[in-house]
Symmetry: C2
Subunit: 630 residues, 2 copies
């Protein structure tokens, strides 16, 4: 195996092209073997095998900086930069991360997980290089999907202006996670498929040369025309207009062509964009044919491509429950429209898109635009539902404040992946949305304890005259029966799950309600019987309820799977202080003030202390504390 | 006066072109008269007089929707939509807003204040129109500066793809607030000035028609060439590539040309972009010559253009103090670079830009890119300082989390306009940064009580190995002497301003320290003597200090000019609860859970209850409360 001999990029430089081709095949087999066991991002990595080898052959990492946009396509890079032995631990707690991480290897020049950041980071590094008088190369590798993200275009605009030496490799596989949308995608498709561009340029230049001298004004026009034609017939005009020199398209699976092209762009003193066409899932038939499905995989049988049966419950995912509920509601209310930023499948909107193609909008990787598009729809009497992961809503924060909440427009945010997401790690945890949304006036925030409540919350949200976030976790719901009828949940009302006899209430949010019930079961053995409250609204809180509890001398334990700083517990403390109710003992459990790495959700919850045992401890602790004497 | 007869857009329709020209002149005089008294956005409005008149003549507001990007250029629109009598109250408490506001007039189709949102909102309205079977027009008016914002490009990309009937008017005055930067700006300049585009197209088409039939392959090439040339020689190629039909450039001060063009684009069934060239400050010589200086004005003498002498203190602004400090520090440390998103003057970086042009980066209206560019610089060993208003940092929230804080990169955020900003109102108040930054791990947050401390904080921030926000208010500092030497402030340490004899401490942040001192002076008359603490770090808090205070039985009053939800008070409450220290009476004063409108800072502070009197009341209240008996 050639792969056994590769312990760093230097080992590629001695190889012949034939050997590199063999290595590419070995890496594909390695990826299929490994990911069929661990799961992970599959299609994107199969697509960049040759590109990664070519980059590491032509450039000299870590001296030269290679910056992967999004980063889910960096497995091959990790394999050949000394981390192949760690692949059995991929995306597992304490194991290899699924994205580049500066702390993991000097070859990971810039950490990532979200899209469209690479050109900005690379430009920063190129500027620093020049200021420091260094001479290395900086290469950003960005997908066609990520290229539609606003910040990538901001960065192109600035880079084209600064004219720093910088290489942008556009890895064009004709899709982001789902099929690409947008004019940029059409434009790239034209560059790829319409041979007219290159051919016409040659033919017209040839033609112009053959026309005999006509003299006078026409001749002068012709001269200018020759210059201009040369300029105008360059494919990649759009990038050229932004100040980049465009090269390509080049076949991203042709190692010879790739290395030749990379050697060429390496010599350019200005910003260049190299357009590389790759095929997502390349080399694994099932992935080539259905690259969206095999973008990210759970463990599967490599022979059949089928996912291994998991032993998990038969409960549907929260995402699926949302996806069904919005279709049902949209059948009844023609004002309902759905918006996603390049995640139709991930957010559960596939069914909606099929049923209501005219009312479904996939805007591409463009959360900012998605939010303000929703604001425009709401201002015109529609009922937009923007389905988005908690972590990606961070991208639209100003739009949430400035375009939606200030104008109190009825936009519903279906905030999926709220709380810990597991294997994707730091960059994807839905830890901050409660804090960053709670501080914004006019916003209502809810989280359901189960999937039935999620449905009623979505219904409730769609009746409200202002902005609402309904947040729910990744993964399986609880398998509870679903109400036949829709009904609204009174805004700001909490729900008593268990009455309790001890003067302590556990105020829990979302999946933490079940954890609180588990804690109460444990506590029963010790004769402690707390009230369990489903804090289904984080904003507004149930003030009447809190007033009663405080008045009757209850102690409180809050439990949430969100950052403690600014979260539910913080809101409860603010409310009590705001009403002069000091002296109520409160313990707040939630995510500590640190980024939570990748790992299984259960492992992560244990690591941060969100366990039934710790909830039970907090209940006993706060009961012991009681009220402090003066 | 024709202006007296204009009470709504309908009144424009009956006017002749000559009358409209006279009206334009009258409106310019009105603007100069009014703004010389009230202050406000001057240059941008002088520049769009004819454009606004033409829009309201050709379109039928409020049935047709006109959406102003940024909105500081909507004064003329306000004048002719029934609000001219309210101009003496412009930007004053309870008066006319400086930006479009849906609540102010049905003609204000979409509220704004930040840049680059208009195309997204307009597209949402166009989509809603088509879904509802309506037929009105939707027009977004966006500046050349705002067009470089990522979300505008996201929206162009999506609009070009959807092909909805939509009109984008590009108001190109060759600048944003400062001179424009970026490849897009160069591109627009080329469209404006290089007549080659339009002329060459005509000449080459003419030439191709004159070439006699050559027969065979060349003839076929020629036919294809004709088609392609037609396509390629369109100016505005970049917009055409994104799916828009480009019209222009048209002289934005020529009413006849404008109305002709608008009538034409009105008929287009697809997205169109009309490129209008205007001159910022048009019609007022001083503003034409120095449009950056007269972008926004304080009251001035219309004869001389000079600002009226204000009676305010001789203290420098915090912005200027920052601007001087960063120059001094950069003299000593070549790693320091400064970044702004189109606000070199507003953020005080003009001096830095002159002194260190190679280390200064104005990225255009592109806060997301600015943040991640800073991350790239920091990852390469530089010491980037991103100077940005609190409200605009909201645009870069995901980049703060994902690119800077997760990687713990030493980026310094110089967060200007933190707290209430006054006349700009809701969209510009710096109310949320403490909450949204405090929840992010690895972030350090400080705020100085005066300008000397600001300097030392900037110095301190530049020594730290991770991300730091130094936030400071708009306007004049306190006029204190400046230390000769630089020194670091111990991270997380608070400062006792006044020792106090009563068992109550006022924990105040930034300008609220002075307010607390004023409150203490009042309280002295009543025999109450609180401790005054300068809570110069919001994150981390001074835990040792809090522990001591709680242990010794002190009551606390927190005072901050930020949103209470998630702010300093909230952090103190969390800390106490986290250490089991319930029973400490705490009152939190700060901004309530509502958007704060425009007005004088003093008026606004009174309106929200941030006065010395209220602080004194809270101190007495919390003293009375004392500890609650069990
Ligand atoms: Mg792609
Ligand atoms: Mg402009």
């Amino acid at each position: 195996m050639l792969l056994d001999r590769v312990n760093g990029p230097a080992d590629l430089k001695a190889m012949s092209l034939a050997e590199l081709r063999q290595l590419a095949a070995e890496i594909r087999r390695f990826l299929i073997e490994q990911l069929s066991v661990t799961g992970g991002h599959f299609g994107p990595n199969l697509g960049v095998v040759e590109l990664t080898l070519a980059l590491h052959r032509v450039f000299d990492s870590p001296r030269d900086k290679i910056i992967w946009d999004v980063g889910h396509q960096a497995y091959v890079h990790k394999i050949i930069t000394g981390r192949k032995e760690r692949f059995p631990t991929l995306r597992q707690f304490g194991g290899l991360a699924g994205f580049p991480k500066r702390s993991e290897s000097p070859h990971d020049a810039f950490g990532t997980g979200h899209a469209s950041t690479s050109i900005s980071a690379a430009l920063g590094m190129a500027v620093a290089r020049d200021l420091k008088g260094e001479s290395h190369h900086v290469v950003a590798v960005i997908g066609d999907g990520a290229m539609t993200g606003g910040m990538a275009l901001e960065a192109l605009n600035h880079a084209g202006h600064l004219r720093k030496r910088l290489i942008v490799v556009l890895n064009d596989n004709e899709m982001s996670i789902a099929e690409n949308v947008g004019a940029m995608a059409n434009y790239l498709a034209k560059l790829r498929t319409d041979r007219t561009y290159a051919k016409m340029k040659n033919e017209v230049e040839h033609l112009l040369k053959r026309i005999p001298s006509i003299g006078g004004k026409v001749a002068r026009t012709l001269e200018r025309a020759k210059d201009s034609v040369k300029y105008f017939w360059v494919p990649g005009m759009l990038f050229e207009e932004l100040g980049f020199t465009y090269f390509g398209p080049v076949d991203g699976h042709d190692l010879a062509a790739l290395t030749t092209m990379l050697d060429r762009v390496k010599e350019c003193p200005d910003p260049v964009l190299l357009h590389v066409v790759t095929q997502k899932g390349k080399g694994y038939g099932r992935a080539e044919r259905a690259p969206d499905k095999l973008h990210s995989v759970t463990p599967f049988n490599p022979e059949t491509g089928k996912a291994e049966k998991s032993s998990s419950s038969l409960a549907p995912s929260y995402t699926d429950v949302f996806g069904n509920a919005i279709v049902e509601l949209a059948e009844q209310d023609p004002r309902i429209v759905a918006i996603t930023a390049a995640m139709p499948g991930g957010t559960g909107l596939t069914k909606f898109a099929q049923r209501f193609p005219d009312r479904f909008f996939d805007v591409g990787i463009a959360e900012q635009h998605a939010a303000t598009l929703s604001a425009g729809l709401a201002a015109s009497g529609m009922r937009p539902v923007f389905a988005v992961y908690s972590t990606f809503l961070q991208r639209a924060y100003d739009q949430v404040i400035h375009d939606i909440c200030i104008q109190n427009l009825p936009v519903v945010f279906a905030v999926d992946r709220a709380g810990l997401v597991g294997a994707d790690g730091e960059t994807h945890q839905g830890a901050f949305d409660v804090a960053y949304l709670r501080t914004v006036p006019n916003m209502t925030i809810m989280m359901p304890k189960d999937e039935n409540e999620l449905r009623q919350m979505l219904y409730t949200a769609l009746q409200l005259p202002g902005p609402v976030a309904v947040r729910y976790p990744r993964g399986a719901a609880r398998g509870v029966p679903l109400d036949k009828e829709w009904h609204t949940i009174p805004i700001g009302s909490w729900e008593v799950i268990r009455q309790g006899l001890s003067p302590v209430a556990v105020v829990a949010m979302g999946p933490m309600v079940a954890l609180a019930e588990e804690a109460a079961d444990r506590l029963a053995e010790e004769g402690v019987d707390p009230m369990i409250i489903n804090a289904r609204f984080v904003k507004p809180l149930d003030g009447d309820f809190l007033l009663r509890l405080a008045g009757e001398g209850w102690a409180l334990v809050t439990v949430e799977e969100t950052a403690l700083a600014g979260g539910l517990g913080s809101a409860v403390l603010e409310w009590l202080a705001g009403h002069g109710l000091h002296g109520v003992p409160v313990r707040c459990l939630g995510l500590p003030d640190q980024f939570i790495p990748h790992g299984g959700r259960g492992e992560l919850l244990r690591a941060v202390g969100l366990t039934a045992e710790r909830v039970a401890d907090a209940v006993k602790d706060v009961l012991r504390a009681g009220r402090v004497p003066r």
